[in-house]
Symmetry: D3
Subunit: 238 residues, 6 copies
């Protein structure tokens, strides 16, 4: 199920907070990746389908520095295989004591047109990654090589990331707060609904900043709030 | 017990570190809210009396999205009732997996003249909140709606926040490090003492930057240190 | 074993990530101080030999505010005794609920020519410390005076810091990610090797940004990669 | 809403695991108190309506040992006021570093006919409490007096306990695993359903121990499983 | 690589502590499953090859109670497919807030001749499981159905369990302390070495209980210690 | 300051809970070792003066299995040097991922007449240690050899253990709940006071079990309570 272009554009303009609420309304309460943050919170939204990488704990004898001489090492292969426009999502078992990846791999992903990278562990070379033109999300900087604690094992299988289930093809959206996972089959309708919600929230914000009370306005239980919102939509073209 | 204007002005010019020491001298060792930080560390001091909001864990059947249609929902009511000049303090049970509040509510507080907002959970829309002209303190950004994990229950009762007891009317002071809770009955004397301490620390800092040893100076066990400080006070008018 | 000047200069130009890998190759997997970060990530590298300070939990009767009147109090003595060029490393038992030190002591260290300060707890006056011309690393800001939870006990004994063993004289290197501990006897060879590795990584980064695949390049299992790297070294003089 | 006698008897014979599943079917996923265990796992089920006690962090000046000279101190008052047959549930903010209560208070509850006591902190005198004829649940033994960290504040208000919302009158059930909170209005139907489920699980267990596969049996997707269960019910009179 | 019968018998008589040391000597420092304990610490050793089950976080729409009507649901299928003599090892992402399995499934495993079950989460019906004639290891009792937080996904792939890598066929050994993972290719030599070490440790224990110093005895750096051990072996036939 | 024989006998008959309260009255709020429990909770009280052992994190090159061939290795030396009647207290930095010690060393301590052993990490061979006639306290069983994560460094220096300061010679008391640290200079008066308190608590317990209310009795704010207690003392000879 390829990500619809209109859906993608809509998701670039809504917040993870709004998306969380839209998913909450459908009984999905646990789609925000916990305790993961942007290396550079000022980048625009990250949007793309999940391409996953699964790590297990590293056993010392299986993870000497020489493993990377194998061109098929799953970490390196994943970096070359992740489709342009996708988001690489790494299950690091919430263990940030060693890196999930470093700036060279993330640079390669950027050059290949990948839309972003997420781990529930940490990145090394994080100042360099923060400066790249690709959104990246992690728990905290972590300089030790991934071989210290992580063995890359599987590519593009369902994983957990920050206590959230991520299935390949799910739509990942990141903003200045963090990352949300939208189940693939819901992406279009959630994007539409979140766009509508965002229009309303922008209207409410304007009103609140003008001094209006939130009671009756947010949510719009007063009839006047609905009338005013319609007028605002007409005026702003949203 | 309303916050004295002079006390307020004094508290705007001292640090939470200095206040911690002043309270420590009186046997109060546990007044700094743990693991809570400013969304924008460059804002000036937050000072105001505590107006509290207590959350309990959310039970799913009691917390559908429709609860906000009730104008008396405690979260919304609190936002409209918090007095101008006060600081809203939320007991989120140190659970940042869902939001304590978002930018629309915080905007409303700002417009209403509230002095700041503190939670030991997280805020959603945190980049927007960081940009508002109201200090806000939390543990980490958290996009999920508060209904996911929090039910607002009580307004202006004694609470815990970040392992600190907060009684309504206690004086909250926030700076670039975090937030301290000054028991209401001590606010005046602590403000005075911290002001004195700050003058001395500023003097010491100047001396240290000039190359003077801390021994005998900090604390001023050398008589000369006291003499120099008095001269400095005379010179600087502090 | 004094820190060699060439080694020091080399360590100022390599990253903690690269150093971690060099140590990993020698079977040292656990030299990166966990969960500690720079107060100002934009400062250049911190390099210096470890001068340690050990804290134990504070017992109330032994830690009134008056203890600092003793010129030999270990915390104050350590600040005056830490050699210029060294890095003060504090074992705060990973407890950031009270401060390890504040801006006056760190200012004194700066003036005395100390190369940096590290704690696995937190600093108070952290905005002021961040602005000083001395690198400082901690877990998080913490306003309460150290007497609340920490008693300074020993100077320059082997300690733990962030789950890493630190022996006096070990070489500490900090960058925008955090701090690594290089055993003293390895400092020269690690600095050399990391310098070589950095040259190669810079070459690889350039190639990757030009669009080259990492396969065969990183590591350079293709003969052509080695040839290209040698050409790059000749060209760049590295 | 008093606890129905038949409901009570049914709840004495079912497990918290079965009750969790019955609540899960109704969308209540979060009713098992986390990380709390019986002091004596061999006691029979604890069943009773919640009578709550709320603690906030203790401020030192408000919690000297003399506070208990006040006959209306909320902790002591709660012990005398908790109705026979009820379960006292204490919100200790998941902080077991100091006690929630000790053996004298729990003895008094026992003598008064209270059905059990639960805290998400710890009890002191825990070996003595384990030996009493009243079920007690906590996180871990904790010898320090509650005044060290807890101030009893409110009696019989809604609280959180182990990340679960507890409303006064909710039905608490404890067994050898821990404690579940059944919303008051669901107690009767949940007790009935769990009783039915328990009969089926007992049948399944017997069959499994005889060597039958779980496929088609658990759940009973094979028609024969349903037939066999009905025969078993007829035979056993359940 | 089937588990050698002699190896199996040897492993039934050695402790996880001794096995940890034997693996440590080979550079494998991280094979003991962290924070997992026996439900019944008095059972004899558990020995068997790993048969793994991987869980990911449960998404609500994919995990209604009806999923178990599918005979191919991975959790149920795994229970029927796990070979007799093997040990089922579940990757529950160290999340014990919901159950990994309950007594009916563990009973089925027992009847089928499975050698044991391990999860880094928790079991429900734990008192019943503790009473079964099959060793079981977990973090803590947890009554909520696995569907609350866990979705069974993969059977017999490499996993992490309690921060240890577990590959299908690795040899699992559990005792009263916990569970160790022996890489399959090392099982025979480790079992032999641990058997030798155990003989020596038994000798040392006897000597120590008779009053002998550990210096020179443990390890046997005194020649006499080696002589005495040989005599003990001759006498005891070990 | 040797432990007075009468004090020792008194401490053998009072609980850590009572001792905590006696210390709390003197402003010592933090003397109970956190999250440490007896391997065998049914043993009588452990009483003895602290003899300490300090561990730091293990660096791999300094901690091969061969280090124990050094008769002066601090761990082994400490076991031979700990005075009979003392309690060995190990600072394991609250890290139970590897053992602090095993049954052979604890057996040697027992034979040498040592009064007990405490670590804020874990013991290996814990079932064997639990069966020895020496009280032992830890966080949880941990099979990996101490060399994996711990390097024994210092003998009989002040340490932290479970967040409590322990000075050599402090009086350690353990019971079925855990371990408390009594500053050496307070041991006699605390033992006396706790003995008095225990008599009163025993009286109160008897009264409560007979049905008396705690109000006015505990504490004895009713005059009659004091009269009854005196009568009870006369009768029981306490």
């Amino acid at each position: 199920m390829a990500l619809n272009q209109q859906t993608k554009e809509q998701l670039q303009k809504v917040s993870t907070a709004t998306l969380c609420t839209a998913l909450f309304k459908r009984g999905l309460r646990n789609q925000f990746i916990q305790d993961v943050r942007p290396l550079d919170p000022r980048k625009g939204n990250m949007v793309g389908e999940a391409f996953t990488l699964r790590y297990i704990p590293a056993r010392e004898d299986l993870n000497p520095i020489t493993v990377f001489q194998d061109r098929n090492h799953p970490q390196r292969k994943a970096v070359e295989d992740c489709p342009p426009g996708a988001v690489m999502v790494i299950d690091s078992r919430k263990d940030a004591r060693a890196a999930s990846a470093g700036s060279i791999l993330v640079s390669r992903l950027m050059v290949r047109g990948v839309a972003g990278i997420v781990t529930d562990g940490g990145f090394r070379d994080s100042p360099e990654i923060a400066a790249l033109a690709i959104p990246a999300y992690h728990n905290r900087p972590s300089a030790p090589t991934n071989l210290t604690l992580h063995q890359a094992l599987d590519i593009n299988v369902p994983i957990g990331c920050g206590d959230v289930a991520v299935f390949p093809g799910d739509v990942m959206v990141g903003d200045g707060e963090g990352v949300i996972v939208i189940p693939a089959h819901l992406a279009d309708e959630i994007a539409k609904e979140a766009t509508e919600m965002t229009a309303f929230e922008d209207f409410v914000t304007e009103e609140v900043l003008k001094g209006r009370s939130i009671l009756g306005l947010y949510p719009p239980t007063d009839e006047q709030s609905k009338i005013d919102f319609e007028a605002w939509r007409a005026k702003t073209g949203r």
